[in-house]
């Protein structure tokens, strides 16, 4: 498996949805290719870091509106 093919399969590999034959080819490639190990590591790090993003700035007006919505609901 060339490196250029491997980089297209990483999400399927990590999700466990890669067909067995492709998974074996990919894992055989990783035994011989440090840059692709680094690539997959970066991919995992990208996913993990995205999980630490939460909220972009929620404008104060939006927060106020929702707080009002909550209080109105409570009062009802």
């Amino acid at each position: 498996m060339p490196c250029q093919e491997l980089v297209e399969l990483v999400t399927a590999y990590l999700d466990g949805s890669l067909p067995a034959a492709d998974r074996e080819r990919l894992e055989a490639h990783l035994k011989l290719c440090d840059p692709c190990i680094t690539y997959i590591e970066q991919f995992r790090e990208t996913i993990a870091a995205s999980g630490h993003l939460h909220v972009d700035d929620l404008p104060p007006e939006t927060q106020d509106e929702l707080l009002r919505l909550f209080r109105d609901w409570q009062a009802a």
């Binding site: 060339p2 949805s17 590591e41 996913i47 870091a49 630490h52 939460h54 909220v55 929702l66 919505l69």
Partner: protein
């Protein structure tokens, strides 16, 4: 970007909402609202309408919380209410390009995960092997606020359907099956869109950290 509140488990959340705990409600808003807005925008023609849909969803959550039976996670339940409302609203006020057409267009476009110039050409010693291999990233920089800002900007810059799928999968932590079901897209398209989105975010991080 604010730092995220840590949410308690579903049982405590549901109990707190039923008891009228304002602080818990606002924590949920801070954790989910932006992602909900991204979802709604895929179905309706404008940001203003999307904001209305998300507000209606929050109200639906509050009025429905007594009846919520916890057969799914609270978050899945909330996002289902959201997609149902957004779809209904979208049938009345259509987007110029429907979501399903966007998904197909983005999934079918030729869109390599890594710039082809990073690989050796057909005349190289190893065609398709790395010509410019990636370097490992400094761990301490990964969770720096600045790095998270780069990720956020990269996600904002993605084509719409890719932005939506990565927001649900990697930012909000929904599973592959849940996302395919919520958005009514095929498993294959879910995966293709996610892969393209992650590949672009990785490239943006590499440009920043590398």
């Amino acid at each position: 970007m604010a730092s995220a509140p840590t949410l308690p488990d579903d049982e405590q959340l549901v109990r707190a909402l039923r008891a009228g705990d304002e602080a818990v409600f606002m924590d949920l808003v801070r954790c989910w609202h932006s992602s909900m807005l991204r979802v709604a925008q895929m179905y309706v023609p404008s940001r203003a309408v999307a904001e209305e849909v998300v507000q209606e969803t929050w109200l639906g959550v509050l009025t429905g919380i007594e009846r919520f039976e916890q057969r799914s996670s609270l978050k899945t339940w909330v996002f289902r209410i959201l997609t149902n409302r957004a779809k209904t609203r979208g049938e009345r006020e259509r987007r110029s390009v429907p979501f399903s057409a966007l998904v197909t267009a983005e999934a079918e476009r030729d869109d390599p995960a890594v710039d082809p110039s990073r690989f050796q050409g057909p005349d190289g010693a190893h065609p398709g092997g790395w010509a410019a291999p990636p370097d490992a990233w400094p761990q301490e920089a990964l969770l720096a606020a600045e790095t998270l800002g780069v990720i956020n900007a990269a996600i904002d810059g993605l084509p719409e359907a890719q932005r939506l799928v990565i927001t649900l999968r990697d930012v909000q932590g929904f599973g592959a099956d849940e996302v395919a079901e919520l958005l009514e897209i095929s498993d294959v398209n879910q995966r293709v869109l996610l892969h393209r989105a992650r590949s672009k975010v990785r490239a943006a991080l590499e440009a920043h950290l590398g």
